[in-house]
Symmetry: D2
Subunit: 313 residues, 4 copies
């Protein structure tokens, strides 16, 4: 995440701005505005702009003439109510914009969230930077045997890890060297390498890069869709690498809309969707009755999860 001098200068310039506005501001966000918050080895999350705050949720829910806020306590209660009852539209009234640098294979997961605005750095138009993601040894997990989609808690042996990192680094470097050779450009100076060669078009040469190369984009979404993103991506089932970004953004949400954040934790992130059949199980258990998976006709896997969730012995 080493920025060039020019980029650092741009950052300082933009952070030195002091404007006056009638719009609501959030002190804790102003503090971090434009700063790159480090993610993985070369990535970052930069908050670029925001619209609204907790009061704006309330304001929209009430279709208010003023700021929406009555008493802090009532606002908090209303936000809890809206979150609990899935009245989602008031949360769409806040908007946030980020500049994000992330590996391409993570960008491919991220972009599946369709209700967002995106401008990505273009490999058709510009030369890709020589920056690729290499996991830390502690994150080199084995394939899970029970969950085809996830990682085991086991990590590779020292020797196996070493070999994996070697392959990742060597292949990424070689692919980039060849990318630049195809473009007929010098890697350091970005000047023409061989005046007798033409150089392949950028939109083709880029296909030689590996999926751990970093890309970057501007990404803007509303609070409701951001929370949906976080619910899926700040979750145990999400791939570790995207969770790193989700956790950083979750922390920004906490600073931005503290009431909404709390409601989100209780009614979404820490909440569980319990099926009709599972509710029947809980009722019987509470009534002191005995009940088995077969009795209610739920699958073994679901039964296990329920037992484990409720810490039933």
């Amino acid at each position: 995440m080493s920025l060039t001098d020019l980029q650092n200068q741009e950052l300082e310039d933009v952070r030195s701005i002091k404007n006056t506005t009638r719009r609501p501001t959030v002190e804790a966000l102003e503090e971090i505005l434009y700063k790159p918050l480090k993610a993985l080895d070369h990535g970052f999350v930069r908050l670029i702009d925001y619209m609204g705050n907790d009061a704006a949720v309330v304001q929209a829910a009430r279709v208010s003439y003023g700021s929406g806020t009555k008493k802090i306590n009532e606002d908090k209660g209303l936000i809890n109510y809206l979150m609990r009852r899935w009245h989602t539209t008031p949360f769409e009234m806040c908007e946030i914009k980020f500049h994000i640098k992330l590996p391409i294979f993570i960008a491919r997961q991220w972009i599946r969230h369709r209700t967002a605005n995106v401008n990505e750095y273009s490999g058709r138009y510009s030369i890709m930077d020589k920056e690729f993601y290499v996991p830390e040894i502690k994150d080199l997990a084995a394939q899970s045997q029970t969950n085809k989609q996830g990682r085991s808690t086991d990590v590779l042996s020292a020797e196996e890890s070493h070999r994996v990192l070697e392959m990742l680094k060597d292949d990424a470097r070689q692919c980039y060297d060849h990318y630049m050779e195809m473009l007929n450009l010098n890697e350091e100076t970005q000047e023409i390498l061989d005046p007798n060669k033409t150089g392949l078009t950028r939109e083709l040469a880029r296909m030689n890069l590996t999926l751990n190369y970093y890309t970057q984009w501007y990404w803007k979404t509303d609070l409701h869709n951001l929370l949906h993103f976080l619910r899926l991506r700040a979750d145990d089932h999400a791939q570790y690498e995207i969770r790193v970004y989700a956790d950083i953004i979750l922390d920004i949400v906490k600073k931005w809309v503290p009431f909404t954040y709390e409601a989100f934790l209780d009614y979404r992130l820490n909440a569980v969707n319990i099926s009709g059949k599972s509710i029947a199980v809980i009722k019987k258990k509470l009534a002191g009755e005995n009940v088995t998976a077969e009795d209610v006709g739920i699958s073994k896997r679901e039964w296990q999860e329920l037992i484990s969730l409720l810490e039933i012995k």
Copy 2:
């Protein structure tokens, strides 16, 4: 559009806020923030919040580390280029939020623009105000004979107008009186009318109101989708009543993003989509050849529009 004392107080309170921010601000928008701009007889458009400006479009297009802006001239050129070539995503990076009061039959057209966020005043939850739209006499157009969907340029006779306004007003008033009677509420005090009656639930009683009753909502959208809305609704083919709102918003866009506004006028609002066949016509005309509608196989209506557009005699 007469606000209550309480609403006026809320407006003053919210307009008196002075915050400091690192985010870009737009002087001309700060000026009108929260002020109700009158539309039709009882409606309004109130700017509630905004995110970004012309520079934010440039910033996103360049995936920039700073404000995006280089030289004003280059910014203007880039915005023209983006608009001309339908690179629409950078315009999605600006966001705007309004509080709008409008007749229900116009709200029904407006809501068809799906890529927006909306919180509407709820007739299930709250009592509807006694405010309904009555056109001015000059707007009481006859049905167009050539365009089944539009108005003729003729207006009704004085006598016919008088009768129409009478019916509109009387029916709206009577329906509201009955609405309140169904609710078992006093119109002035909103207190219970007859203690021996129960009162119909609000969600049912509201069905007795006519479609010219005013509703209100918070409406938020991005600049790209706003321009798409304006292209359709600030157009001659749009119903006059929604055009009144579109024109007010168009004027806000002019204050907000002057470069984008100019590009929008030239490449969208004043531009024409000319079909392949019509281009063939223009080419022949320019080459001094004679050409008829039959030659190129275009319909009479389309031919007339082309002739009229190009002022060909």
Copy 3:
């Protein structure tokens, strides 16, 4: 819901079609295709077209070369798994299209579901029919005192009901008579009423109609978004009038995709989203501990709902 002779003829014509296709078909849907299924007093739901079935969900989830189906048991298990874990995209691979006739005040709720395709009958272009919704006496509920948004279980007295229906009918009729008078049209023949008058344009005259007038539209959506619609609108908190439509559609879903339907019932319609704090309550209860609302910091209303859900005494 009385159709004209012409409409009945069109229906018969379109139902008499027998085509051969390689696409999957659903026997039970072919049976009801194009038939108007009655809703409320004059409305209907007509199934117009459908794409896919349970197997198509499986096929997409497996990115399969064939029909996706292996064994019926595995398909059912996979569909349950997808529903339970909120893997929603495979359910987007089925599509359904309806022709629906419904009161305008219900259409205004319905249209808030944005991820759908809609073509509505145009009151700018065409003359509205004289058909309006009048509730049955048993549905004339009083306003709920505890839930500002809903109906009480009490209905109005016979006398009060009688008066409400009278007002609803009289106002709707009078508004329509005036609508036709504004258009200068004869109600029976739709011919010009008074040759010396011009007649107001349709797009204005329609504003005199009440919100219980029927409109109609073609509405198309994918299975995932349809289920989301049903989850909200086939629910107790939904207004009765939209629930009538939702229940008809739910029954069509049952015929269309029986495995998905069952999973939907268990994991959505009969499921409950239980907050982190409520889960803590359940755990303690199961472990035989005593616990109060204050202990875990949840609101009284939420506590009541939890107690009632779990039938805890």
Copy 4:
């Protein structure tokens, strides 16, 4: 695009289905249903399902009780009118579903079209196939000097081409070999390579693959959004590799909805959006006046395009 015996068997099975339906069918589409249509070296487009036809557009525009169709001539005229006047919603009433195999760097462009449903083959869950895209020598274009985003019409020299292909092939192969080594799997048998090793989790190992590896997905969208996709991707400014897919799909559209296809060609693909200023130029030219770029204030690039479009000398 060599399918396995199993895949071929699945294809045959699914193509052998003969169902009877009341829904509209399209002969020419039934013919190609499920067949892989080759794209690039290993990719394909497979039509999986479709809903509606030209008549369904008309049916929805008319909110019809029957098939919508009156006379073929009127249908064609209405479709032209809808396309010309940007009445886009009736075209949303047809839906189509494909199974597509395509290089990842093309998938990344494709996915930016957000209004579509997608299920992609998962590299978290499954092992990626050893299939990567290598351009033909004739497609190895040089970078354009005038258009930073595109290809020049020049291709590389034989020698330079040879070297580029060598690098593309060698790097892709080596990256795949290492991918399998990381997974600790034998490339041929997909069995465990070394019983003493653990094997890296799939979701990490995949990052070592290059961007020209093939992925595949189910992709479903409505006709309106498909045409928007084609307008951008079957265009000269689109990257050649995505245009190959767009052209195949355009041909399917021609079979599916011939009237819509013709209207699309004339009013979209062959049409030009002419700015207000450019219209002024055309008017003056037609009136025999002289006019320069400076007179109307349009940029040199835009002026050149206008001159070239109208073949003005």
